[in-house]
Point group: C5
Chain length 308, copies 5
């Protein structure tokens, strides 16, 4: 994600336009449409001296209403996904902190082994979830994993689930051994549950794009709309009309492509959520709360696949 300060310097932000992959693509498509329209205008008016049928602007307004319904729907549903993804990861942050805090309050201060086990497993859950959402867990990213665990992890089809289960199993064992009480068990359980809930919600967002019909219909509609635009704007305006067509096309294609960019927010696109950074924050917080020193790994630098 591009982190930016919402700093009210109008020009500075417009200036950063080209840092966004989607923006590049929007501008490029608009230029292509402009080139095509210029050619058409040149051929029709300059070479063949034809008179195009003229469609009045009112018709475009009418068709524009339907298009705006679809674009509003598209933008809102895409943004809702993006924002829900952010809320789920915010949830994960809160949940991991609370879980660490509860364990810190219940575990004896001297039981460093349990504390380290818990800190590492909470952090690993987040790392595994991040990787899981980005197309497959790389075991080397996990921290404090023994060779034995690494082998075990390799056999699991859903690693985040397994790590969360290990936490709960460990808590249950401590309850049976009398190290934690029944009240602790009741207090801790909602937080292992939330680990599953966040994982499931992220999978849902990732795997369920907007229904296929809407996606294809919107593209079809924008294409058809752009194809009849010349009949409305070229006859009267000529080359100025080409500029207007480019502007209108820019408007519609922009909203569509930006929605596509944010609707799956867990990838490495320019506007996707910084879940790598969030994971790192959780790791730091959990280790600090459980008072077991800081994890050794350096902060991973978030990569943006398609930018720069």
């Amino acid at each position: 994600m591009i982190i930016y300060e919402s700093n009210r310097n109008w020009l500075r932000d417009v200036n950063h336009l080209y840092r966004s992959y989607t923006m590049q693509k929007i501008v490029r498509s608009t230029l292509w449409v402009g080139a095509g329209m210029t050619l058409i205008n040149f051929l029709v008016h300059g070479v063949f001296k034809l008179t195009l049928w003229r469609i009045e602007t009112g018709t475009f307004s009418l068709l524009g209403i339907v298009l705006s319904i679809l674009l509003v729907f598209r933008t809102n549903s895409a943004y809702d996904r993006w924002w829900e993804g952010r809320r789920q990861w915010g949830n994960l942050v809160n949940n991991c902190r609370t879980l660490a805090m509860l364990l810190h309050a219940s575990l004896p201060e001297s039981d460093l082994e349990s504390r380290r086990f818990m800190a590492a497993h909470i952090a690993n859950f987040c790392i595994a979830l991040k990787e899981h959402l980005r197309g497959g867990v790389k075991l080397t990213e996990l921290i404090h994993v023994t060779a034995e665990e690494r082998d075990l992890y390799g056999t699991k089809t859903h690693l985040p689930n397994f790590i969360a289960a290990q936490i709960q199993v460990n808590v249950q064992e401590k309850v049976r051994a009398g190290e934690l009480t029944a009240a602790d068990l009741l207090n801790i359980k909602p937080h292992t549950q939330t680990l599953y809930d966040v994982a499931g919600a992220c999978e849902r967002i990732k795997k369920t794009p907007i229904p296929f019909s809407y996606n294809v219909y919107l593209k079809l509609y924008i294409s058809a709309y752009t194809l009849i635009l010349p009949f409305g704007l070229l006859p009267n305006f000529g080359y100025v009309g080409v500029g207007l067509i480019m502007f209108i096309f820019f408007a519609f294609i922009g909203i569509e492509l930006m929605a596509e960019e944010i609707e799956e927010p867990f990838g490495l696109d320019c506007n996707d959520l910084p879940i790598g950074d969030i994971t790192h924050t959780i790791k730091q917080n959990v280790y600090e709360l459980l008072e077991v020193g800081h994890p050794e790994e350096p902060k991973p630098k978030e990569l943006y696949q398609k930018v720069f």
Copy 2:
């Protein structure tokens, strides 16, 4: 559901147009309207040389505003159902995983019988719910069912309810026998409850379409609107007007039909939710979490009744 990658290749998606049943229907209706309008235009202008009353475009804009209110309402309420259905099934996934994880942590590792009982019942609840939402439970779909159970299941009017109750009864028996503690009972109960909540929510979505008045009013309105469109567009535009009428009709009928398609999301329509696949995922996850091997059944192939 058509699973597609939101991959930003504009043409590829438009290309897949004909894979959607609803899209076929939209295009077909539009072609019929086009044919009718061509005939009318031919008769009026070509044969009888009549002059149609002309209605100015402003009137259509005015009527178009009301139509757009209704279409926004229709699209949003249909999409909300679809998305709530998806969320409920996502919920079911999380809930079954958490339930399996809690049972895994509380049941002794050696008690394979209880683990198998739980895994089979959680999986069967999901299968039964899927079938229940698709018009009646086929008992042969369930897994690890004894002949005795099969007979018992046949007598129940609401099978998912009964299977969920069996899980709770079994947990209670274990608590009475001292195999599980009161804290376990308190921890596990919200998850049997969620099974009922998801089942009830899906039934609600399935059984409560948009109020009848809205449905019929919208259809009436679109029909009437299309009937007066020729008076606005044929007098001046002739055959070009036929094209515009088709485009406008395509826009309105498309939004209406796509909303109809997704408003009941549990069927086998092209854009319905892949609840068969989700059921399969739950089954796999539950068996893995309870560490009782994998269920024997092969992955059921989701069918699309009306596509291809």
Copy 3:
């Protein structure tokens, strides 16, 4: 409620138009407006040969924007009530099932008396709530009520509350007698609480219509709008203008009246919720889950006061 299948047969649904009371009323008002406008047009143009001031269409668009804001607001808030009412009753279904399931799991299988008591009281709560929302409880609708209870019930101002309290009192007595455990008490309590929550939420929806100002303002606005429409459409269009006025009036009055119909969803209007049927479903499910045979009453036929 008119149950209909969202079956995609366009004409069949338009055909059912007259089964809806609201639709009849909308069509009737539209015809009256049409008759009035025809008379005015006849008098003005045919008899007195007057020239009306002409207001251009742009003005109507401007006024139409404000009207559309109000109608969107009206439709959404009315539908939200209707849908929240449906969700509350869906909630009640889930809750009664879960309550029955928990009692089934905790009560000894042989304690048929307690099971019958619980089943009858859960069912009676729903029946009493239904009647309470429809204007006063008829004690004869309740099932398995002794003469003594009937007398007691007659003295209560809020019967659903009292029946729900009886369930909780009975559970508490069983806990004191050692038949249920403290964990059972903690598990069961949220479900008696939900009975109160659903009852309160339905009362809230029923008793709080849209603020009076909005209601009267919207009616005033539509009336005024219709009164100036002739100045926009009759001068140029004559009798065709009468048709257009009827269409525009039909659009606005339709949205307003449909919103009025669904905003109080617990009555017996054509589009109101089928809470009689839902009550019946709960009764059946609860008796099946508690395994105490089926209740004797036949399924009550839901009546529609104003249809047919």
Copy 4:
């Protein structure tokens, strides 16, 4: 609040127009604008025979779009506050009933003193909250208060908080004395918590109007829009234009003023919530559920400060 039946008699409601203070104000402002515009028109066209610049209607549509964005935002956020206020008080009703029911089930039937204490304190919490939201608690409104308590209450800056704390303290004492169990404590606690949540939410709604910038911007915009309207409508329409300006002004000012009226819903405006009546209902229900007779006070008549 004006309680009205949503009875579908169109004229009756329009007839009640003048019972609403806001409606009076809207109509009055509109008449003033009309008077001013008539004067201007008379001076410009009748006396000085000037020709005004003419602004075409399209410009007003463009500006109208922005205005409609703001008015939709205004209406929705105001209505959300009103409806959230209603939901919070509905919540309070449910919560007080459930609390009374739980106490009824747990307290011995003979312990009339505790029951009376609880009934009076729950009722007093609601009364104190109502007064607190309306600008300061009058101690004389509370019921069954001893002189000693009255003195104590006078020293508290946040009386509802204190009364709710007394309930919880009393419950804790009973738990320590063995009259209530730990499970009762766990069951009752969410309901004293909800008392705080409702009080806090109502304070939030009351103290946080829409951001000041939006408020002032909207007023500025409507004023400016009305000031340029004459240039659009007077040149062509003359005195008919005055009527149209009044209608348009009526539309915009109406939506703004109605939003202002409902955005702080706890006062005594005509459309504010009937929280006095709701308080009375809670009092009756709580006394009935705890079976300690009815409270002595007569039903307080809700006053409307600005109506009639």
Copy 5:
């Protein structure tokens, strides 16, 4: 935040226009645009006597629809952040009060030390959170902090988390020492959890502005729209057109800048939330509820960095 009474005095509020920093900026930009347009108009029409291409108003309406989609989206998402921030702090108020009330009910009345510890730590959590959201905790703001604690606090990267953990640790110690019961632990835990949830939610709002693409796209669009406006309005209207351009620009820039102002609601902007005042209220309430006298600090005066 500017606290204002929504008092229905139209002129008074418009009068306060200049107290808002954002309003100043909007007016200033509008004046600059006006100056530029006047110059252009003077050069084009007065000096060089050129004829500009004329773009008809319909085109601007079409482009205006897209712009309005973006502005609605912008306004709603910004306001949602602002309102969610307010709800979170309202939550914090309720939560701290409930936590204090529960501790008051459970701690012995004589245990003033524990009460003071709890009151100070709850208050300090809120103060630390406020500072944390405003760019770094100043330890001098905290109350009743010993020198030793101050040193410890200085080493923590996330101070609010640490203070909340101290509360939970203290409660756990009391449970182990038998001063509080297991039921108390279960009752208190959700409230330390909520401290983490509120802190996390505020961080989420603060750190996640609207996706960068949308931000830059909207600015680009408004800039481009303003640049082509002269071609639509100057040719026919001349200097009157300059006024209209200023009005339209004022409309669009206003909505954009107001959204920017409220989207990060924890700062010291004119419309930001009064979290300093809320913190003060919590402090007072908590001390009153725990009955340990009032905290010594004077009420901090909320500063507005950019106003006056």
